[in-house]
């Protein structure tokens, strides 16, 4: 077990280093001169080539790829994201402010998604192949095909423009969060319904259940010791998957609804070629992803003796 977890940790470290190199390579090879962008932000004026070259030297961009990479990585490891190339303000406070809009939105989306999909999936699996089941599958398929940005626009059209019930743009009041959260939640519900439904069907078909029952194991013990660990695996996998979905969805949804969250932060930064902002978002999302995957990987190994048996 210890060596298996060590292997998982080693993998996470390798992947994290890989993400750092990839991110830096992307910024290094992007067209446009980062030194010029930084100089412009710092001095707020059109500059001569001399000044730009001076900045290039200061920031360490005049060296080779690897030297520049180490110079870039140092501050990053101390979670110092530097200064915006556009406003000159430190990156972290602005990034944190954006996250305080995105996290509640993602959580609300997840909550709405669960509240819709769990009852739907449970009802659908009461009679597999029945009318309700087929309806649930149809809704889930349709939901998976509807892009978040179009759904958002349709909701704005219906509830804000036609009915005038809810505000659409901005994030001034809690009511402003309703439409974005519902947009995100409906997308989450579609994918969750599918996964939970097949999870329940699969768990029901397990041959060990009748075997245990016939051996006279009490119902409670069966549920606690056999069904719950079995069901936990897809739930944890799902958490990792939904995290990706929520992040991607939030980016688009925030842009549509004009919420000043991570999505708007990222798109604005890309358009303005604000490299420090872009790199902060990319590095942070990759870090969260790797950590979540690491946690689920370790969790699998703790809960399911079959996984990782081939590593030992």
């Amino acid at each position: 077990m210890i060596t298996a977890i060590g292997g998982v940790l080693l993998r996470a470290v390798v992947v994290l280093s890989g993400t750092a190199i990839l991110t830096f390579a992307l910024l290094w090879h992007a067209p446009g001169d980062p030194a010029q962008a930084i100089a412009m932000a710092r001095f707020d004026a059109l500059l001569s080539d001399d000044v730009i070259d001076q900045v290039r030297q200061e920031v360490g961009l005049n060296t080779g790829f690897w030297q520049a990479f180490w110079a870039w990585l140092g501050p990053l490891l101390r979670l110092d994201f530097g200064y915006s190339a556009v406003t000159g303000r430190p990156v972290w406070p602005d990034l944190w402010a954006a996250m305080t809009y995105t996290f509640p939105l993602a959580l609300a989306g997840l909550a709405i998604g669960l509240a819709l999909s769990l009852p739907l999936a449970i009802l659908a699996t009461k009679r597999p192949g029945g009318l309700l089941d087929r309806a649930a599958v149809a809704i889930a398929s349709l939901g998976a095909a509807i892009p978040a940005y179009w759904l958002g626009l349709l909701l704005i059209l219906l509830f804000a423009v036609q009915l005038g019930l809810l505000p659409a743009m901005g994030a001034r009041t809690p009511a402003h969060a309703i439409l974005p959260a519902v947009t995100l939640g409906l997308g989450v519900a579609a994918s969750l319904t599918r996964i939970i439904r097949s999870g329940i069907l699969e768990a029901r078909g397990q041959p060990f259940l009748p075997a245990l029952r016939r051996r006279g194991v009490a119902g409670q013990a069966v549920a606690r010791d056999h069904v719950a660990p079995h069901a936990a695996i897809p739930v944890v996998t799902l958490f990792g998957l939904e995290l990706a979905f929520l992040l991607e969805g939030a980016v688009l949804v925030e842009v549509i609804f004009g919420r000043p969250g991570l999505g708007t932060f990222l798109v604005t930064a890309i358009t303005a070629r604000d490299f420090p902002h872009v790199q902060a978002v990319v590095v942070l999302t990759a870090l969260v992803f790797v950590l979540v995957n690491l946690a689920t990987d370790i969790f699998y190994r703790v809960i399911d003796p079959r996984i990782g048996a081939e590593d030992a």
């Binding site: 390798v14 992947v15 892009p147 940005y149 349709l154 842009v255």
Partner: protein, 264 residues
């Protein structure tokens, strides 16, 4: 399987014939008729520059479906190569290629595509690069898994011992096992590529105006939501119906293959 054939034929016909059926030039500007609702002359209305929306949708099919096809095939080639090299190249190649795959998987697909396409400068080539480079990992994992399982099968070992050359083992033993599963993965990725193209187009980082691409059309239509709400409905419906058709065809294909008892 009939539904699969139907969907494939329909989509190919749409991409090939669409532009021929279009009543107008999709970029022809007609200011006096701008933002018109559906009329006899303009069946789906016109956009802010008076361009015929039906014609733009039909030409847009070639952009969305054609690019999605290109992107999904490119990532299929990259992913399958990586997966097979990992499976057959020994432990070191396997470990390092799979960690590289994990690294690419560590970025949320769409976020990474937006960053790459945006930083490379908006345009069709950046779009193709961004979506291919973020879309090959699933193929790699599937191809590796099948490669590893086929490698130890009796008939492959026997073929190797009998002195069958490597390429013909690949052709006669690996390919038949790979094709069904990779086709199923491919349908999913094709649908994802359509969604990705339109998402990037909607954010302004994809196909650039005046080219008629469905996501970019949504971006144009969004501003005129109050005056001509229908303008926003059409491109979205086009995306949804294509993605839905492909996903359903993919499900049917998977079920049919599962019944045949194919591996994977």
């Amino acid at each position: 399987m009939r539904s699969v054939a139907l969907v494939v034929t329909g989509l190919v016909a749409l991409a090939v014939l669409g532009p021929l059926l279009a009543p107008y030039d999709p970029t022809a500007i007609d200011i006096p008729n701008r933002l018109s609702g559906p009329t006899q002359t303009f069946p789906l209305g016109t956009d802010a520059l008076g361009r015929d929306i039906l014609s733009r949708l039909l030409y847009g099919a070639r952009w969305s479906l054609g690019l999605a096809f290109l992107i999904s095939v490119l990532s299929l080639i990259i992913g399958t190569s990586v997966g097979l090299i990992a499976a057959l190249g020994g432990r070191i190649a396997d470990w390092s290629l799979m960690r590289a795959t994990d690294t690419f998987l560590a970025f949320p697909e769409l976020v990474a595509a937006v960053v790459i396409a945006g930083l490379m400068g908006a345009g069709t080539w950046s779009l193709i690069f961004a979506l291919s480079v973020t879309g090959w990992m699933r193929y790699a994992r599937v191809a590796r898994g099948i490669g590893l399982s086929v490698q130890s099968r009796g008939y492959v070992v026997q073929a190797r011992l009998a002195g069958m050359p490597g390429w013909s083992i690949a052709r006669w033993h690996y390919l038949p096992s790979l094709i069904p599963s990779l086709t199923v993965v491919w349908t999913g990725m094709f649908a994802r590529a359509i969604l990705g193209i339109s998402a990037l187009g909607f954010l302004g980082f994809g196909v650039q105006p005046p080219n008629p691409e469905w996501g970019a059309m949504l971006l144009d239509a969004r501003v005129h939501m109050r005056s001509t709400p229908l303008q926003m409905i059409w491109p979205g419906l086009a995306v949804v119906s294509c993605v839905l058709a492909i996903n359903l065809a993919g499900d049917a294909l998977r079920d049919a293959l599962a019944k045949d008892g194919q591996p994977g």
